[in-house]
Symmetry: C2
Subunit: 493 residues, 2 copies
């Protein structure tokens, strides 16, 4: 085995062995992970408690190399005990399904293993990023905008905060926050938690994210926003940014973008929209009206790995202003961004990024887009919205299901009320009892492997389930199955 | 084609088409990208200027879907015009080669498409991360340490800065930098530029990274460091952190960790080591002495995607202190990190991360480790060090090559001095002329596709080349080829 430890270039016998191994792996993956793993008759997960799973697997690295047989066994175990996030019954997070073109795109990217910073090293992917970012800027409504890929929506939001701060106080880049007044930003109480994490990371402080009330549909109250802006100004601190959300994580609410834009204009605030979840609606002529006002934003975060089902990860930050990303981030490292190259170095985009080496997250998305066309994304999104509508209608017809609120988007939030609790809504401990139902049902479904759906509390509401179907292969029959299965799991509680 | 746009679960004919397509893709990748793309007889790159390449490719997304034939053509084009970073003649960056086990690991990860935050969604990968981080902590010398994966070394360095700041001024997380004195950190003038980028992002300010002189071998001068710490204290600002580098980007220098640790102890500073590049030496019993003192660090960044040739990206931050990562980052989002789950939620590591959704970068590295064993990594690293030694010896025997300094690591930095400039070292415009040689040779090699090696200036030194061979499949014959080829390219300049 000794000679197999090195990389593969040096001898033909090794090359043949490696080729055979990679062929075996790709066959195994297609058969077990991609096809068997997503068939309805097979479980979504074979759940074991952490200690038990640890014992079942053989995870500790060893001194000596493993054989190809052992390695294939390790892959089989990994597939066997992993959650099948591509399974139609996995509706647990804001991502799901395995798109064949997205997967092919990942495999291409891996085989070429680029790192993104210069045209020199990644010519095709560099051009592809430029084209995709420009197209998405057009779609968002930033005709002379700029954009960048980010390692997930959290860092994308953090980057937007940094740009906003830079616009009003560019000296912070060089001198630090010591040169600036106390800065305050605004986000709704249902905004993603990354806004707080990033405010802490950027040295602004979590408590300088002023929480704005939502209305009963989960949307930011723009009148309350304005009153908070005025309150902060009166304290002597300086408001600089509002983070609106287009598709909140739990309720799927769309903040009123035009009204928030008006407040931002009036008080000269950076208007950021976290459309990580809802951005995909732009592809749908039927539904893009939910994003009216997006073109008034200064910056937008959009994750195609959510609604559009691109593989993990694909996250973009789009900015109205053409030059600010580079101005804010550039550091002019001479070892990487040499000015005396033989081609036009304005295409070496790396210096505008916070990352140095970076995966090419563009290809899978570009490839899906090519495979489906814009019209394919539109059909996908429309199918999801139709599915959410069917879920809502079906829920209403079942006595054990109660909507938390009228869904505006793909998130359909509901309580399952088992027969033992029905009619007891007025009892003082009803909410306390209801709060325990979803966790119990979640355990049952996971141990059975029959489906995965998430639950959560929200503000003072007891735990409720959240349907989020982003897999346009999910049928009405699947929805019936979900509801029947929840009835089976919860009936006797 | 209409029915092919959706995801694939809903009908068998589509499933068969998708299966066939993915099989075609994996065959094409193995043949063209992985094997043909890394054969010595084939070019490293088929270079075209950006405008021309743009015309050759068909990148603009369309309304309508493409056929499978068109998609396979797009993959062929992408392979054809991409730089073959796995080719043995690609020695342009701090990553190279295609490891078959690393590639298999990526493909497995993609097929399962996990996102990392909870055990519920990624049980196998969660346990794997815990095992790998614990093993690496042991290797670094943090017996009760903690660790996390990061999207690249830059964000890993930034995260370390945030931890350091949190240790001394935990209130900054909540209240922002307004509650803290002026904070200053220290890094050598050859430290990676991400230190400055991240200081800006974190609101500390680039100019509050105090630049420490290096000695003539590129190592931080620890006496100068101490004098700078004293100088900053005298100004009334507060030093809080030193960033040492184990393997600098250009020269491959190792800062004197024990001496720097002494300064950090004396002045109560967080001791961070950026070992993104050099960390892999820990696997080598012959060479790990270069990292003596690493176990005295508070935090260490290590990128297996560099020296150990894991695919893009695999980057870890290791921390001596067991609880600080979570304390610094936790946000307790109740929609994701529910406390009333049915399993022990202490294994839901997501809240200690700055990212929310996150790729499983662990599997490829775990899988390589299993495939090769620790001894395989050791042989790989030793082979690279031997190769660097052979390069150095060979360079010395050729009149047109001049070492910039005696190499300490894999970086072998040298000038190519064409015959027209030999013997003219004393002329006043020699450096100016020499400065133009490397860019010219780089253009020639790229247009020819015969090899890729990077050049850069450093401080006042004119442009020089940097050999960095991280592909243990590179042979002595390959090194001879590199030197002969440079002679061919540069002889007539």
């Amino acid at each position: 085995m000794g000679s197999m430890r090195k990389n593969w270039f040096h001898s033909l016998p090794n090359e043949a062995l490696h080729a055979e191994f990679l062929q075996d792996v790709s066959k195994l993956l297609l058969k077990e992970a991609v096809f068997a793993g997503t068939q309805r008759k097979n479980p979504v997960v074979r759940f074991h408690d952490p200690d038990h799973l640890y014992d079942l697997l053989n995870l500790t690295p060893t001194e000596k190399p493993a054989t190809h047989t052992e390695l294939l066994k390790a892959i089989c175990d990994t597939i066997n005990f992993s959650v099948k996030t591509g399974h139609p019954y996995f509706i647990n997070q804001l991502f799901s399904s395995v798109d064949p073109y997205g997967l092919a795109g990942q495999w291409v990217t891996d085989a070429l293993n680029p790192s993104m910073y210069t045209y020199e090293v990644a010519p095709v992917f560099t051009l592809m990023e430029a084209v995709v970012l420009e197209e998405i800027c057009q779609l968002v409504g930033f005709p002379s905008g700029d954009g960048m890929f980010c390692p997930g929506g959290s860092f994308a939001n953090g980057t937007a905060i940094n740009l906003a701060r830079f616009k009003y106080f560019p000296d912070i880049k060089r001198d630090g926050l010591g040169c600036a007044p106390k800065l305050v930003m605004f986000a709704s109480e249902d905004a993603h938690y990354s806004v707080h994490k990033m405010a802490a990371l950027l040295g602004l402080g979590e408590q300088n994210v002023c929480s704005v009330q939502t209305d009963k549909t989960g949307r930011m109250d723009s009148l309350y926003l304005e009153s908070q802006v005025q309150r902060i100004i009166a304290t002597g601190a300086v408001p600089f940014m509002v983070v609106a959300t287009a598709g909140t994580t739990v309720l799927g609410a769309f903040d009123p973008l035009p009204a928030i834009a008006d407040v931002c204009t009036k008080y000269n605030l950076w208007f950021h929209v976290d459309a990580a979840w809802g951005g995909g609606l732009l592809f749908s002529r039927t539904h893009h009206h939910k994003l009216i006002g997006l073109d008034r934003a200064d910056s937008v975060v959009w994750n195609p790995h959510k609604l559009l089902a691109a593989p993990q990860q694909c996250s973009m930050l789009l900015v109205r202003h053409p030059n600010i990303i580079k101005a804010c981030h550039a550091c002019n490292a001479t070892y990487l961004f040499q000015k005396d190259k033989f081609y036009d170095v304005s295409i070496d985009f790396g210096d505008k990024y916070l990352q140095c080496g970076r995966r090419a997250d563009v290809f899978k998305f570009w490839f899906m887009w090519k495979a489906k066309g814009s019209i394919g994304f539109e059909e996908h999104v429309n199918a999801l919205m139709d599915c959410a509508s069917y879920i809502t209608t079906s829920l209403r017809q079942r006595p054990s299901f109660k909507l938390v609120l009228e869904p505006e988007f793909i998130n359909v939030c509901f309580w399952y009320i088992p027969q033992s609790l029905q009619g007891l809504q007025e009892q003082p401990d009803f909410n306390e009892k209801l709060h325990k139902i979803a966790p119990r049902m979640k355990e049952l479904m996971m141990r059975k492997g029959s489906m995965m759906i998430s639950y959560q509390p929200l503000q003072s509401l007891p735990n409720f389930f959240r349907f989020v179907v982003q897999n346009s292969g999910v049928t009405h029959q699947d929805v019936d199955y979900f509801l029947d299965e929840l009835d089976r799991l919860g009936a006797d509680l």
